[in-house]
Symmetry: C5
Subunit: 361 residues, 5 copies
């Protein structure tokens, strides 16, 4: 694990160096995947027909874009910087947005240009080890087409694809802006899975805090806090993004679609509120953990104090009569030993009574 982490750090550092000093607008892949060719797939549809295929070259993509179908042009794999730059140039996209497309570390945002709208979102999912993984998705809405740039093809868009193919819902009847919305909606919908996951973890840690408070639990609480911070960071800008899309004057987004965007807005407000609440709950967990620790300490100290308070005086009495003075009258009385036992038992009972009254027992 440690080794893997170390390699991660080296990669991260070198990735950073790759970029530094280059002029702005340089299209440099900033992710951590190895280089491979980008894969392009296209779904082209209108109300009456659907066509799904892999274009052979960029020209085919350009032709598709100019058809009177709505086209969903999906580009998976962003390591091939030259391809992305070339494609972008042919589509007259600003080089700054191409830079952002392959820089998989940027903050979610919307940039409006005259002929297209560029949006970057983060896809969240749980990996095999149940950890939250973040993938970047860049969407470009142009007239009659949506370009989707992602590092790997993701499952989350399958539902949308299916709806197009089976003609369910509105998507086939509406324009590219509705497709754009549907893809964003699919991503945001998926955030609820992450919320569910965090919620379950909070519940689980709450049980652990009450049942077995130990440093391992504290560590898990802190780790969850960091996870929530990480998630919040990529989700919270979405609210503002969607708000800007709703307020935009750009004719690429129709009034009908804005009604649906309002729905995403409601979701993001809800998600942000939930994250805020989880955050507060995690802070409470830590507080509770500390309080339980302190309570355990109290318990430990009570046991010590009770044991010591009872036996130290008794041992002192035994010590007295273990002294070797020549002249100790008690030692020679017939019942001295039994009287001492009586005194000790009396002290013991008195102590127990005292501790009982102080509610220490």
């Amino acid at each position: 694990m440690g080794k893997k982490k170390l390699q991660g750090k080296i990669k991260k550092a070198s990735r950073f160096l790759r970029k530094k000093g280059k002029p702005p607008g340089t299209v440099t892949y900033m992710g951590m995947r190895d280089k491979e060719a980008s894969k392009v797939s296209i779904i082209s549809y209108n109300e009456t027909e659907v066509r799904s295929y892999r274009p052979k070259n960029i020209q085919e993509i350009l032709d598709e874009k100019n058809s009177n179908h709505v086209s969903w042009i999906d580009i998976s794999g962003l390591t091939d910087e030259a391809f992305v730059e070339n494609l972008g140039a042919q589509l007259h996209l600003n080089t700054l947005i191409l830079e952002d497309t392959v820089n998989v570390n940027i903050r979610p945002k919307v940039d409006e240009y005259e002929d297209y709208i560029f949006a970057v979102l983060k896809m969240l999912y749980l990996d095999a080890a149940d950890e939250v993984v973040i993938e970047q998705v860049a969407l470009v809405l142009v007239k009659d087409a949506v370009l989707v740039f992602q590092e790997v093809e993701m499952d989350v868009f399958n539902a949308v694809r299916e709806r197009i193919e089976t003609k369910s819902g509105r998507v086939r009847r509406m324009g590219a802006d509705y497709l754009f919305f549907s893809l964003m909606d699919a991503i945001v919908d998926n955030y609820f899975v992450i919320l569910e996951h965090i919620s379950a973890k909070v519940d689980h840690l709450e049980d652990e805090v009450y049942d077995h408070p130990n440093p391992e639990v504290a560590r898990k609480i802190q780790d969850l806090k960091k996870e929530v911070m990480k998630v919040r960071r990529v989700i919270s800008p979405v609210k503002e993004m969607v708000g800007r899309l709703i307020d935009t004057q750009n004719p690429l987004i129709t009034k009908d679609t804005k009604l649906f965007l309002r729905d995403i807005l409601d979701h993001t407000i809800e998600i942000n509120e939930s994250l805020q609440i989880y955050r507060e709950m995690i802070m409470s967990l830590m507080e509770m953990y500390m309080s339980n620790m302190s309570n355990k300490m109290n318990e430990v100290m009570k046991v010590l104090t009770i044991m010591a308070s009872i036996f130290i005086p008794l041992t002192f009495i035994a010590g007295i009569y273990g002294m070797n003075f020549d002249n100790m009258p008690e030692l020679h009385s017939k019942n001295g030993y039994f009287v001492v036992w009586g005194v000790m038992i009396a002290i013991f009972i008195g102590m127990m009574f005292y501790f009982k009254r102080r509610r220490w027992l």
Copy 2:
């Protein structure tokens, strides 16, 4: 209990899955009740007459809506998705609001459309176990009618029903918007019962923190904190909602009714402030609990220290004269034993005096 909780979680999860991947606008019941038919009841009134009945079919509802009476159309039971969808379509309601109507988990909100206003609120009440339960209520204000969608028929609207039937207050003299306001008002008025309940719990926990601070109390404090968070989450959006209704240009809401909405606004501000204060008081409780725990620890340690500080030196002295050296002159002096007792008592008194002066006794 644990089992019930588990089942709750399974239901919650499956409910979530029910929705995922479906196109937006799909009317899917998201609550946890079993399927049963929706029950519709109508109260139709104007200044001179009232009529209360259960319509036999949707047509009767539509006819009612078009009468020149004000109609309160109450739909209880949201599991029958087809019915809700059908009714909504006949009334030309946007499918997005139908989706929200049966999704009983959404955030309180107001959506304005040209011909109707859609509001979602949360009804709060205490169940048999004195826990806060949240039910969703969706209100649709159309011309001359208010539709109320709720999971079960709730008592809270009885007062309004009575006022209509007995012609008390203004409701019979005013339009559908005043009915809409009256229903919201009934819900918000009920929030004060919850506040009262939280206030009582805070007072009770305060007494417990001072009288018997123990981990169980800390847990109750944390549980109350979570309850307040839960309540705050569903109440706090109401302020903004009502504010938007007051500012709306929509002719469905008259100026007279806005005066009354301002009254609800004042209430929600007051409720939010109270919740904020309860929150701070709960945080103080936790602080006080920690301080009391730490104080108890101090007490325990003092007892230990006093006992040990007094008897350990005395035991040492006894130990000295328990040694078996051949040549220990004190042992053979006639009053040695009594002198030692004298020394011990002197030490004891000195110690007591010392602890007294340090205010440990």
Copy 3:
């Protein structure tokens, strides 16, 4: 005390029930006083003459209002709901403000109507037990008159009455709006007495935290925190209220009076800042208390550790030579006993030196 508190709660609850379910605008007294008739007194003045009397019936009040004097109509006692409702109706006041007038629990606010301005403020004073008591005052500014609704006649307005009678200050030369301002000013001026009281308590608790930190002090700190919260809650809305009066377009308030209102605004800003600072100081007090507690614990533990660390090893040595082995050569050496004493004293001195160096002594 406990009993009184309980009765308070029952009253509070029943008061709450009194209101629930009634239509908005119902004039229901929500305070805790017993029913008695309202007392009305009027001061009527212009630059040349003053007249002070108790009107016999409502008609006399109405006549007064229509005279060309400025009239201060003071209504004490709000339990007589019928009287308030009747008076309000005759003066064409909205029933909502009458409801608020007798509901002595509402938040300070200003409501503007076309012909009158309604303001609710809280009067704060210290009772015999030096606790902060809150009384509600409702002011209605109409043309040429100010109505003052209060539960009992309060001293705070005496200064204004005197100024009217002795013609000191501006009040006799100016209109009803200046009277309205003067009454608000008297209330706000009195807040400084409460601030003074809180400030003195903070100083006193600070001394106690340093001199005798004990759980009772912690409790007092928490109680003061609650008191500040309570005071802040009724004072903080005043700032916004006065701001709205300054910004109003309503001709009832002249430009000259607005200059004076700005003065109240400055005071409320100052008071809010002071409360904020007291709040932070109280938090510091609690922090300091915890730190002192923890320091006391350290002291206790040091005593224990020093005593135990010195005497446990010595007792061990004594124990060694208290053993009864047949063959223990040291026991028979002539100076054995004195050598052991020497060793013990050496250990004692060494320990003292060690603790000295660690600054524990």
Copy 4:
């Protein structure tokens, strides 16, 4: 000290009573100095000549104001309320600002009137005991003159006076508004001395927290926190004040001077940021103090535990062989005593090894 403090409180209280109940606009000195006559001095200058003198009566001040020189009219000593009131009346100043002038406890603010601008600032300096002292300065900018009201003549304006006399900088070439700015600038510049002082205290306390954490240090930290609160309270409103002067439409302040006011604005932003940072640093100090205390406790407990854990078992073994049973075979073996020593040493070494491994030694 205690007595002085008490007297301070009595004065404060009586000062408060002096004001209560009086009509607004009453010019009542609210400071704590004894009554004495105000001293007036005037510096009158234009680009070519400077004249500095003490006017004999108010008429001379009025004449000066109407000359075509820029006049700096300095009034020291505010206890002479009649003089201030008279002067204000002659200059046609609103009585509200005269009230504020002699009320040395008000919040920094700017009030704009048609013919003059009134500003109140707080002068901060360190007294002999290195404590922060706050003095109020009121500035009134009228056409061609600036009136300065202060309790005592202060050093801080000497630099400005010198610049006027030596004709250095711009002041002689510009109008009264630039003089007004210069005086404010002198006050704000002086705030940096206080910042420096706080910064030094923070550094000093940081060293103390690490080197000798003790309750005295905690108290100093809390005192510094209060000092920062006090300073922040009088400095933070200045930012808003200056902002309003920059935005004002009043022709008394020229565009050129606004450029300089922007400079003060930058300074106040910087000062506020610094105070915020010191505040956070002080909170960190307290946190660090608590952590060091807790660490010290750990150290103390470790010593106790190590001593007790080693010697208690050994003492037990010695106790065993101090028993007086007739039949204890070990006692009669020749090497019994030496074997027991061996066992004890082994236990001792084992314990040391164990504590070493747990890093307690």
Copy 5:
């Protein structure tokens, strides 16, 4: 170290005194470097040619500025106040900005004037000891030229210089405003190196907190917190600065360049968010440290309690049979000694069992 620190403080103090009392607009170097002459270098370019040289006098700089090339005029060394003042006067720059240029302690800001735009930024880099060092850079954008004022020549601009010389990127094709942007971009890009450094420190401290929590780690955490505060203070104003440049109406900045400035804006938002997250993580670290300390204390106390609870009662029993009473029947029974051993072992096992069940072992 201590001595160096002290000298630093003396320098800081004297630097402060240097400024105090001088009129605003006085050009006084406020840094801590020793006096030396400023070095000027110029890069002058257009799309076709580049020229890089050191001008011999100010006239040459003025000539350059008036050429139709874009000129980058770099002034290193700000101790030569006269040179800076002279140069500024020749370029008709406001004396206030010259004052700010050599006052290396001011807050990052943008000031717009009619003919030029003045920006102050902070360059951050890591020194040999891996501590964050802050250098001020002042940029002045005039028509066709950018003036750069810095204390020493810095590496960070090398990349821009290279791009100009090698004609890579857009810089040669665009105007002075793009150069202005490029320099700001180079500075902001470098902030990521500092973020990386902080991130690494956070990770490292996290490991230390879990593995070896000790006071040294707590100190490092607090130091890192201060470092983050320091960095945040100089970075956070940049966001607002860039925002103002984007919104400016000043024709010196073209629409094309604003697109690029938006890129810097995105970066600064991202950096601020990261710093906020690091801040929260550092607070979590401290929390975790405290929790680990408290856990260690629990461990220590448990060991003590277990040892004491087991051996104190056993020692008491041994003490009993060490007493010297004449009449102690057990002493003379043949198996008394062995029975006592049995009892002791039973107590020992019972205790172990008890501690096991309480999970203390």
